[in-house]
Each structure stands twice: as C-alpha cells, then as structure tokens.
Symmetry: C2
Subunit: 229 residues, 2 copies
Amino acid sequence: MSLKHALLGFLNYGPHTGYELKKVFDISVSHFWSAELSQIYPSLKALETEGLVEMKVEVQADRPNRKVYSITDDGRRELIDWLGTPAGPDQIREPLLVKLFFAASGGRAHVLTVLRRRADDLRLRLEGYRHGLALVDRYSGAAKLDREAPFWRLTIEYGISHTEANLRFIEESMGLLDMMDETAFVSSPAEHAGMPTRERVEILDMLKKAVMAAHESGSPLIPARLHTN
Amino acid sequence: MSLKHALLGFLNYGPHTGYELKKVFDISVSHFWSAELSQIYPSLKALETEGLVEMKVEVQADRPNRKVYSITDDGRRELIDWLGTPAGPDQIREPLLVKLFFAASGGRAHVLTVLRRRADDLRLRLEGYRHGLALVDRYSGAAKLDREAPFWRLTIEYGISHTEANLRFIEESMGLLDMMDETAFVSSPAEHAGMPTRERVEILDMLKKAVMAAHESGSPLIPARLHTN
DNA sequence: TCCAACATGTAACCGGTTACATGATTCA
DNA sequence: TGAATCATGTAACCGGTTACATGTTGGA
C-alpha cells in the first residue's frame, strides 16, 4: 500500500482537497503511480480517522463545498518514517509486449503493423512530454513552485527517458523482424510438438537460474519481504 | 484480464504443466508480466471448464503426478482473436520513484544514498541480463528452440534497454541534486503554506491540459475503452 | 540433517478499477 | 442545448499477492 503515503507526501506541501490531489497526481507522479478519485476519497477519510490528516469543510456558495485536508504532526512523522523504509519492487504490466511475444502466430505483416502503431504513439507521447517540460520551465516562477520545479522536471524527464527506451526497442525489433525469414511466422506453431517439452523446460530453467545467480550475487540490497512499500 | 491469454499463448507452443508454465513465464515475459503459481493453477482450471484447454494426468511413481495441459482448437481460436484486439494501456508502479519525489523532505544526503543504492542494483541487474543473453545464444540450439530464440532474446533486450534508461535517469538525477543548493531540502516544507494552494493547482491544471492536448492531438490510436486487454 | 526442487492446490485479503449517483455552474 | 468543470462519494467487482497445507525425492 502506498497511495496513503503519496497523499501524505502531497499534503506535506500544503492543504489540498481530494479533487485537487487527483490533479496534482496526474501531472507529477502519474508516470510511475496513478490514482482514481474513487480511491483517493476513501483513503483521505481513512487517513483522517488514523489522525494523520485533518479536514475542514470550506463552504462555497456558487460551487459544491470543498473538504480541505491538511497533514498533522503525526502524519508528518509517518511520512518521514515511510521515506526511511526501503521501497518495494517495481510492478510493471505491459499487455502490448505480451501480445508481441505471442504474435509470431499472427504473421510478420501483422506484427509489424502493431509495432508501427506503437512507435507512432510513443513519438506522440514524447512530443507531449517535451512540451510539458517547456511549460514547467516557463510557468514555474509564476506558480511560486520554483522549489518543487526541479523535482517536477525530473518526473517528466523520467517519462521521456523511458519512452525513448521503449521507442528504440521497438525500432530494433522491427529491424530484427525484417531480417527474419517468413518461416518463423507460420501460423501453426507446435511443429516441434513431438519433442518432449520436459527437456526444453529444463534447459530454460537452467538459463533462469544462471541469470538469477548473476543477479543475486551482489549484496542483499533490499532485504526480502521487509519492504513495507 | 490477460493471464489466461498468456497461458494460452504458451500452451500454443506445446503442452505444459502449471509448474512448468511458471518457469517459462519467469524467464520470458517476466519483464513485463509476472504470475504466481497460486494464480496459474486456478486459471488453468478455469480455462479447462471453458473448453479452451485440455488436461491429462500423467502418473509418476517417484514424483507427484503432473497435470499436463494442452490447447484445444477453441483455445487456439480464442488466442488468435485476442491477438487481434488492441492491447490495454501499460500499468506501471514504481514505489521508489514516488519516494524520490517526496524525498526532498529527507535531506540531500539521504536522497543520494537511496539513488546510489538503486544504481548499484540496476547495474547488477544489467549484468544478469547480459549473462542471460549470452546463455540464450549458446544453448538455444541445444534446446531446439531456435525458432523462439529471437523472441526470447527480444524480451531480455527489452529488460536491458529499460534498465539502462533507468540507470541513466538516476545518474542524471544525482548530477542535478549535486548542483542544487541545500536549501531545497529543508526538512520542513510547506513554507509557502500562506499562499493559496488554489492558484498553484490551477496553474498545474493548465500545464496538464497543455501536455495532454499535445498528446491527444494525433489520431485515436487505441479507441478508448475498447481494449479487452 | 536440512534445504531445494517437484507438484498441486485453497483461503483470506487487499489495492485498485468501473460503474453508478448527484447536482450546480459555466462556456461553446 | 449539451458538454465540461467543480466536487464528493458508494458498491460491486476483480486480478493478484500472501500465507497456509501436503508429501516425496535427491543432493549438500
């Protein structure tokens, strides 16, 4: 669980309503953490009963009333505490890549189409990010957030570097596919169905262990199952 | 939902048990999709009742019996069908980055320590991947998986490019932090608490819209809410 | 002797998403 | 007129994780 802590993090910058927090989420940490209003509201309520935040109703005549939340001393302590614990592992789910992996059954032309579409999408996203960077630079002074601005920039730059990596990867894949001969894309795989799957899996298992061994040879950076997130 | 389809994808390469599928998952698509045994077993059962896979018990004397699953014609149809639908959006959660974003409250030294640890971890991971690549090249012939090998390589290369991007980003961040003056890390933020949060959020909102406008200006690549995953 | 690998599962929990509900105001 | 913004929520659902349960064999 981490949304609560992220909320505390934002409230530590100043009081906000749930509605506002959603916006702040969307333009800052959204590249690596997202949240829906339907999750934010109950979380704020929970934080309140835990005494980590306080709420004041702000009556408005023209618009719906607002519930402005601010962090308490207990909340600030909890935040600092959380910042001190090691972070949990990344969780990544990319359906497109999964499909790509199985797309051999779909024919080369089809795979290439999917990849090309993705590349276009990524290029567009990049444009958006670059635009965002320029805007942050231009307006950070006006919004009196020159202190947070560098961090804000960082998150966008994170988005950029990842999108670029993705794009490069996709372009490389297209190159590879171009070089492969069409036979790799026969729509009916399982031609080696006759040979025992056991053996193949065993070799794969060996591979896995070898890779993991290399990975774990270092010091235990994040003590397993100790991450409170 | 996608695990079921991923399982179908693997079973399309040949019959497997749940236990084996877990391994295959771990060394192939694990960079962008993971699964636990406790999720795989029920999913296979569900697929069976849906008639998309068949199961045969393989009695073993020395070891526990195995339940070998194979894909049916219906299953193959379902797989092809799924491959044809547009993929859902990526889901990414990186707790470390969230912490980093709020770590300004923790002091520069602390932030740098966290970053350095992460960088070390990433470098180790890279080593592991590179090792894995070499192994795939060396053993793919022996395992009679020369047809799948290029796809296997691709997934590892995906891991590499992303890890490298991450590493670059972290190194840049450290550079930036070095250049920032210590005042940005005062442990008590909310110094601008006096100024109305409203206005700041409004400007941020403007930023967001501008970025999104740039992002959405293109063609509607993935028709919203039509992705069955 | 003790741990890892083999092999299959169940039950409880939980974070998060989707859909639904409400209602005023403002702008195109 | 109708969509978007402001503003807050509830309820159902669901995919996925953690913990627990069981029992054998082979190697360090």
